[in-house]
Each structure stands twice: as structure tokens, then as C-alpha cells.
Chain length 576, copies 2
């Protein structure tokens, strides 16, 4: 592609709503242009990166036996009623009515459509397994779109779905996709981790996320300092690094005044103990939107710990995350305003985090405004309904899989694989006949790659102050030629020769043939970030030389013109 | 691709809503599956054809200097308010509201977005020309979706847009796209015609359509029996093949009773004259939706001619097509019920088609129920506001560009190119600075190819009773191997060898390796329609032979196994 013959531009101003480096670079390089919040146009360069990544995804999934199809983005409500998700999807799903009043949604995901696609044609076990995938623009009405393509409303996704005879076969498909995903992100050329994840509303009981590691990643991950363990904080088991024992005698309960000491921090200060030695009580409602009663529960945690609502939801086997009670509801349930509440005397279920199991002679709210109790003990003073792992894990917790402790890193979720079981086949009648003619439900899996998000995540993990540093795998162009004297025949002739030579050898090239000074050309080249820059100018040609500058190192080497193409190809081949 | 390892299927039942052959074949071959009216999933085979056609489109537009981008499908109302088209687009545009109540549409077309995309970065004449295009899934809320991909709600389109300094430069871009389109449809390998067209709501004053010719085409085209002239009936000039002269004397007007003779056909019969010798008067309203008064007009045509509402709209320079008056309105305007009305004594404007200009002593309604007048003459008895070409052209009319007459053919519109002028740049402030720093509006063009429609149109013009006959250009696979004895090692080994050899030579191949009898395999191969079928079976291999069967001719030739790959490649190369 020649700069003068297409619509490329760069801008100097950093847009105010671009909060992270990759977003700023995409906008400054003309890769991305905002049309509305979370809705963008992709420029010629970005589209080339996207297409290259799509091709990597396609190849690896086809290698595992997946076949590409394309499903509709506009989907009828009736189908989502079958699976029961029309309501469950909430506001994130964009709904619309056509002029006849029929209801549709913009498919934020395609489990329903693919189950419908397959259920009519899969008749017998001989038709299984099936792995189908698509690369498609999707729309989600994100409440707070931000970070460019990271959390956009409109974005490109690869979604794949597997159908199998039984769980064993379904896990074979799951492993195939796991392997495809590992290859995909390996080929991208940036650091990634596979982490245990929550399956959320998609369903199923096995799910892993693929994360590119980056400082501004939206997700907090916990990874073992030794070994392979990695998990999203949402699901990471929380185990104290050291098992604690308290062998104190049980003392008699005492009430004491704690006026103005509503927070754990001020209470700890006043009592001169660590927050971790105090117990905090939280009050939540386990009621769903259709429940008429409150279903209040109490959760006890160490003073310095945080509740993990996903763990609590699973522990209680709920469809929705429990919501915190309003202050007035707390008062009704405990008799006191928040800050003076505790477990003693409650009639609601009490769930306690494993982290306080060993504690004796605890300090808790007295359920009487401005009073606390000390020397409160399990069983003697109140009953715990259940002890469980309910807290957020954090750095320093024990590695659940082996030796050592966990550390925290931030990641960008670029892939997610789920074993779904029969969640959709059971509600949507996705059946097949076995070799004896008996009907069975198909076992499903679903597998997503955030295509546009991955491309931006690459920039987030590979850039410097001057611009993007593309890996060769998804660079819009392998080479960026800065033709410094476009009107010099010798220079432009050589540029054209290298340009043609690269294409003949299967590499693409951006030729900056603008009438422009070298400074701005180099700045633009650094900003746009192609892996290798070639400077060709009249001055160098007097010495029969051109310059090669790999973007990542910036280390310039001079090369004789006769060797220019050969050395360029050599460098490129060393990268792939 | 191997049949046993993917999700392919064929069905015998013809779906009841598939009215034309191409639609029936797409469904029967598992190419296409309906999800909702006008909304379909594309199977693996169809997607391959679509991708191949997209690539043809891409290559030809890039060759003319176009750069590919991707714009959002969901577009904010504000942008459409700028161009004034939010209301003008009507029900065909699918509207939606997000959870915050902001209004959006699903972009049925992208003039607004592209003008916004370009206006911020094009600063000077040096940045022009710009040609940008995208390949995108679009949605239109068609009132009556039908014919599969021909008139679907969700479909893939390539849309391109050009921006130029002035009209002269814009017409250069227009010609480039004309040339690209001709190459695109030439490469498809089916018969097409370029026809003059109406520019509709898109705007501009130059527009041509590209049609594939097919019996069930939705559009009626008029093409010269000699020469290049071709036009959509919507805009085709209507010129009588022979100029008529009537040298009769003007006779005095006579009123006569015509009870029960309300139609031209019954009146002609009763008077024993041809319908073409009578004059019919139509009554319409030229009022727009915001007009409070009726703006009634009268149109006079030959008795056997049909009004062309697009011509009338243009003649009157209206934004909307005039609507026929209701019977009561006709009565109010003329004094008589329809069937007895005529031009004499009217106070509203009267437009007359050129086809009646020569007439004398005409028979027209008397504006008195159950009466007509004879011997009515122009000027003497009533004044015509304007004579114009207002009728539908038809077979036998004069070729407007030269010798001979026109004939009627049916076409499927697969491409449409428009010179737009400044319609969008003027409302949306799309300006650039010339070399003296003066501001000018950019001149635009827009250019569409119906990608999915084209692929189906190919089938519509290339099939037989057994199935599809793909041209090599967009066939899902170049070759279809029917492996008749998958368990025979020699047969399956040879099939694999040819399969690999084809891929190594850049051709793709579908290998039917199912355990299935030859009959159904051949039937499926004919239905799916790959250009070349190869039969490999144990019986043939005893004679060291395989069979090649080109789909189009069905003429089988036996080839020695050693020559199998070579002969196959030879045949394929002869096709491209």
C-alpha cells in the first residue's frame, strides 16, 4: 500500500476519553475512529491487523476440525424464550422491534442460534461430533463502554460451539479447543496465561480464560509463584498461607460502648488490634427478582477481607448474586444500624468464611446501636449455618495446587472456553439417536475469542512512548519504507523494487511516498509500529546504502543497496 | 474439507416458502438455513462461496485505488439528522433504542458515517481523491422478504464511497468503479448487463445498475436489440417506434352515454376501437406528507399505456412519488366518479404523455357520471400544462440510443453505482481547502455490490434440474471427490493423494468419504454443484481408472490413475 494513494492519517492530539496507552495509540495512528460511545470505525491499517488475526484463529480452529459458518446478528425473541435467556440476559442485550412489532435482539452470543442450527440436521450419533464457528460483529449495550476496543459496544468475536454424544466426548472437544486457543495466542507473539474462570450466565461447570498480561488489564489474576496454577480472582480459592490455631480459653461475653466506631478500621485502632483480628458481618439478600420475601442472610469475614459475591452465589446455589441489604433492612433484621451489628441473637442464616474458623473470643457488633460484644464464640453464643470459602483471594494466599503462594497480575481476557453440558440442548430439544435408536441430549461446549479486543491487547502489551510495536503476526504491514526523497528517481526506483520484491516473497509493505520531511515520516513510522522500517534517501544512496531499523530495538543497521531485499527478507524470516 | 469431519447435510424436501430455483437449491444443499423471515444462517459451503466473491470484489476495488475499512453497523440518530434522512428512510431502516434511551439505527447504508469518517481528516486538495470501501453485514426491515438471499433482511454488501475535488474528478472515480464492477462481474463468469437506473433516495443524477440476467429476476430491463443501450424500466425513455401523425379535421365535441363502460377495455370494445386509440385520465396528488392541501393533478396517457410514477415524480421535481387520489377525491376534483372523468373543464394542472401528442378528436370522460365526450382536441377544448415522457417503456419501443427497438429481459440487480455530487457533503459540512486556501464541498460517489445476492444470482442463472452448476470463480470447492469405497485402502489412498495434490496446486477440494452408496453420493454432488467431480472406486481401480465428470456438461471421461491429478489440474486451468 502506498501512503499517497490511500486514506491514512495520524493525529497529534491525544483524545481525552482515551485512558490507556493502546487506546491512545490506536486513535493517534488513525487505526480507530469513534462514532459513538463504544462504537468505532476501523481504518485500513487496523482492519489489516484484524484480518490477520482472524486468519490465525480460523486456521487453528479448522486444524482441530471446526467448520466456519455465519449466523445472523439479528435474532428473534422466540428462540431466546426457548432457552429462557430473553429475560436473564438483562440490559446488556440490545433489543429491537421491527415495523410489524416483532421482537428481536442483536445477538450478543449465539448458543440459541447454533443449537437451533444443529438440532434439525444432527440425527444420529454418526453425525457427531460437530464443531462449528463463526467470526462476527457483535453488539452489547455495555453500560460503561471504555478503553476503545477493550470494552466496546460493537466488536468482532470468534465464537465456536461443539456438540458431542456424551460428557467424555465433549471434554475431548473442549481439549481440542484449549489446544487451538493456546496455539492462537502463541502465534500472536505476546505473553498469555490460561486461568480458571467463572462460567457466569453461559452455564456449565468447567471454564477457562485466556489472558494477555498487561499493566492496565481489567481483570485481577492470581498466579502461583511456582507451578502452573492461575485463576481469575472471581473464582480463585482463598487459602491462608499459614493455618492458624487459637488455643485461648473461652471468656464470658461482655458488652462495651463503641460510639462513633462504625468502621472496622476505627474499631481496630481504638482496640489497638489488627483489622485481621476483628470479624465483620455483612447482610445480604438472597432473594431473586421474583421473590416476595427478603431472604436475608449474614456473612462473617475477617476484618481485612473482602466478600467474593460469585463464591457466595455458588455456595447458596443462586441464579443471581445476592445484593447487600439497605440500611433500613439491616436495622429491621438485626435491630441495629450498620456498624453495630453482629451474629449474636440473629434468626437468619449465618455463613462464615473459612478464614475465621479458628477464632475465639471475637469482637462483633452487639445488634444495639453504638455497642459491641467481646469474647463472642462459635456454638456457645451463636450458630453458623455453614463455613465456606467466601472471601476474595489475594497475593500471599496459598497456591491451591501445590507449593508456595500466589501473586497478583493483571490480565486482559481475550479468550474463554466453556464446557456447557446439556444446558441448551435440554431446553431446546437438541437430541440425537444412539446406535440402538435411543434418544440422548447432545453435550455442548462454547468457545470465544475477542478478535478486536485481542488486537488492541497486543498493543497494550507491546508499545513504547513513541508508538506501537507490532509483532509480525498481526502487523498491518511487515515493512514500512520511508522513502525520503520521493522525487529522486534512484531512491523511488529502489523503494519500488524492494516493495515489489517483498510482495513477491509473500510479505506486505507500506510505502510512505509522501512529499514530507524525514522527521515526521520517522515519527509516523514509530507511531504506526510496523516491525521493520527501511529508510531510503538520496543521501544514503550516494554511499550505496539504505538503513534497516527494527521497531522493537530501534537499532539501525546500514545495508548495501544490492543486499537490501535479501537482508530484509532475512530479518523477516528470523521473526516468524 | 472432508465430509465425514464437518457438518454438511442435504435435504430432499423442498421448503414451501422457496419460490425460485436458486432458493430451493440453497436450502436443499444445506447452504442456507432460515432463522426468521429474511434472516438466515450461512452454512460452511455458502460461506466459502461468499468469501471467494468478496475476495474478487476486494481485489478489483483495490486495483482502482480503494482502501478497505469497516464502519459500525449500529449508528446514532444524530448523524442521520444531519443529512435529514432519519425520517426520509422510512420503515426499511431498523431503529432501536439502547437502555439509556439513545436512538440508533442498523445502518442500511453508510453515506452518513463515511462522510463523518472523512470530513475530520481530509483537510486539503492534497488529501483527495479518497476511495474507501467495506464488506459488511447490513440489515433492512424489508416488508416482504423473499427468495432467500435475494430480498433478505440481513445480507452482506460491499459499499464503497469516493470523495473528490470537483465534478470532473468525481466522474473519474465513478468511471474507475464502473470499470472495477465490470471486471468483478466478468470474473464471476455469468452474463450481466449495465443498465441506466434511478438514483432514488440516495441522491445524485447519474446512476447505473449491474444486473445478472435470469428468468426470475425481480427487475424488468429494456435492452436494445442492436447496440449497448440498456435501462431499468423505471427510467427507460419511452419512444414510439413509429412517429404517428393524425391529419384529421377537428370535429365538434359530442357527449354520449357510456353507462357501465368505466374501463378502457370495455369502452374500447363498445366503440370497436383499439385501446391505444383511447385516452385515459389518471388523477393523483402531488402533495407531500407535510402538505395540508391536496395538490391534485391529471395525467393523460394512451389507453394501453401505464404511468411510470418515477418519471412523473422527476417531471414534477417532487421528493415523494405522487399518490393516486381516492375515489371521493376524484369526484370532488372532476365532478364525476372514476370511469367518467376527463380533462375538459378541469382547473387542476394536466400533464400529458408524449404518446398522445399527435391525437385528434379524442374520446375522454365527460366529468359527468356515465357520459363521455368524443372529438375532444388539445388547445381548443382544454389546455395541457406540459407534455412529457410519463409512460412505462415496453418491448417494441424505439431504442433511444440508436437503431432498432427494445426488448424486455429480466435481471437481478447485483451492483449499483451513483454519482452523488454534494448531497451529503453540503448537509454534513464535508469540505476541503484548495491550493489557494478557499473552502469547497467534496464531490461524492457511492457504489454497492450485493455480495450475498450476487452469489445466489449466480445459482439462479447457472443450474439445472439436478442442482447448482457453480462457475469455478465462486464454487465452494473446485473439485468434489466421490470416494466410493472409503474402506478400500487403494481407493482412499488415491483420493487422499489427489486431495493433497490439488491443495498443493492452489485448488480446494471436497472429499466425500462417507460410508454411503454411490447413488446418493452422485446425487449430492450434482446438487451441491462443484465444477468437477472425480469418482474413485475399487471397481474402476481394477482397470487402473478413475472418472472425471464436469458438472456443467455431465460428460464423463475415464482417466488412468497415474494421470489423475495432472488431468484434473489441466481441466481446472482450462476453466480459469
Amino acid at each position: 500500500m502506498k501512503w499517497s494513494q490511500t486514506h491514512l492519517y495520524t493525529i497529534k492530539e491525544v483524545p481525552s476519553d482515551a485512558e490507556i496507552p493502546s487506546h491512545r495509540l490506536l486513535v493517534r495512528g488513525g487505526y480507530l475512529k469513534k462514532l459513538a460511545p463504544g462504537i468505532h470505525s476501523y481504518g485500513p491499517l487496523l482492519l489489516r491487523s484484524i484480518r490477520k488475526f482472524e486468519q490465525i484463529v480460523r486456521e487453528e480452529i479448522e486444524r482441530e476440525g471446526g467448520a466456519e459458518i455465519l449466523m445472523p446478528m439479528v435474532q428473534p425473541k422466540e428462540l431466546w424464550d426457548e432457552s429462557g435467556r430473553w429475560n436473564a440476559m438483562g440490559d446488556i442485550m440490545q433489543r429491537l422491534k421491527n415495523h410489524k412489532g416483532h421482537e428481536f435482539c442483536l445477538g450478543a452470543t449465539h448458543e440459541e442460534v447454533i443449537t437451533d442450527y444443529v438440532r434439525h440436521d444432527v440425527k444420529s450419533y454418526r453425525d457427531l461430533p460437530v464443531i462449528l464457528f463463526q467470526v462476527q460483529t457483535k453488539f452489547r449495550d455495555e453500560i460503561r463502554p471504555r478503553f476503545g476496543l477493550m470494552r466496546g459496544r460493537e466488536f468482532i468475536m470468534k465464537d465456536a460451539y461443539s456438540f458431542d454424544r456424551d460428557k467424555e466426548a465433549a471434554l475431548v472437544s473442549y481439549k481440542k479447543m484449549h489446544s487451538a486457543y493456546s496455539k492462537i495466542f502463541n502465534r500472536l507473539g505476546v505473553e498469555f496465561r490460561v486461568v480458571r474462570a467463572d462460567s457466569g450466565d453461559i452455564g456449565g461447570d468447567l471454564s477457562e480464560e485466556f489472558h494477555l498480561l498487561a499493566d492496565y488489564g481489567e481483570d485481577l489474576l492470581l498466579v502461583a509463584e511456582q507451578g502452573d496454577f492461575a485463576a481469575n480472582v472471581e473464582v480463585c480459592p482463598a487459602i491462608d498461607a499459614e493455618e492458624k490455631v487459637d488455643s485461648s480459653e473461652l471468656l464470658p461475653v461482655e458488652e462495651f460502648e463503641t460510639k462513633g466506631l462504625k468502621k472496622i478500621s476505627t474499631l481496630a485502632k481504638s482496640l489497638d488490634v489488627a483489622e485481621s483480628e476483628l470479624v465483620k458481618s455483612l447482610y445480604l439478600s438472597a432473594a431473586g427478582p421474583d421473590d416476595s420475601d427478603l431472604k436475608a442472610i449474614c456473612v462473617l469475614l475477617r476484618g481485612d477481607d473482602e466478600l467474593n459475591p460469585i463464591k457466595l452465589k455458588k455456595q447458596l446455589d443462586l441464579k443471581f448474586e445476592p445484593r447487600p441489604l439497605h440500611e433500613k433492612e439491616v436495622k429491621e433484621v438485626t435491630g441495629a444500624w450498620p456498624g453495630s451489628c453482629g451474629p449474636v441473637g440473629l434468626t437468619i442464616p449465618i455463613y462464615a468464611d473459612n478464614g475465621i474458623r479458628h477464632m475465639k473470643n471475637m469482637v462483633v457488633g452487639a445488634n444495639k446501636d453504638a455497642y459491641h460484644l467481646r469474647n463472642v464464640n462459635f456454638d456457645r453464643d451463636f450458630k453458623v449455618t455453614e463455613f465456606a470459602d467466601l472471601r476474595m483471594a489475594h497475593a500471599g494466599d496459598k497456591n491451591p495446587d501445590g507449593e508456595g503462594v500466589l501473586r497478583e497480575v493483571r490480565g486482559i481476557e481475550v479468550g474463554h472456553i466453556f464446557y456447557l453440558g446439556t444446558k441448551y440442548s435440554s431446553t431446546m430439544n437438541g437430541k440425537y439417536l444412539d446406535d440402538e435408536g435411543a434418544e440422548h441430549l447432545m453435550e455442548m461446549g462454547c468457545y470465544g475469542v475477542g478478535v478486536t479486543r485481542s488486537v488492541q491487547a497486543v498493543i497494550e502489551s507491546s508499545h513504547d512512548k513513541d508508538g506501537i510495536i507490532w509483532p509480525l503476526s498481526v502487523a498491518p504491514f511487515a515493512v514500512h519504507i520511508c522513502l525520503l526523497d520521493p522525487s529522486d528517481e534512484k531512491a523511488s526506483g529502489l523503494a519500488q523494487e524492494i516493495y515489489d520484491g517483498l510482495h513477491a516473497n509473500g510479505f506486505d509493505c507500506l510505502l510512505d511516498d509522501r512529499e514530507e520531511r524525514p522527521g515526521p515520516k520517522f515519527k509516523d513510522a514509530d507511531l504506526l509500529g510496523m516491525p521493520l522500517r527501511i529508510n531510503i534517501g538520496a543521501r544514503g544512496l550516494k554511499n550505496n546504502e539504505i538503513e534497516l531499523v527494527p521497531r522493537a530495538t530501534g537499532e539501525m543497521s546500514k545495508v548495501a543497496t544490492e543486499q537490501a531485499l535479501e537482508k530484509t527478507l532475512e530479518w523477516l524470516r528470523s521473526q516468524s
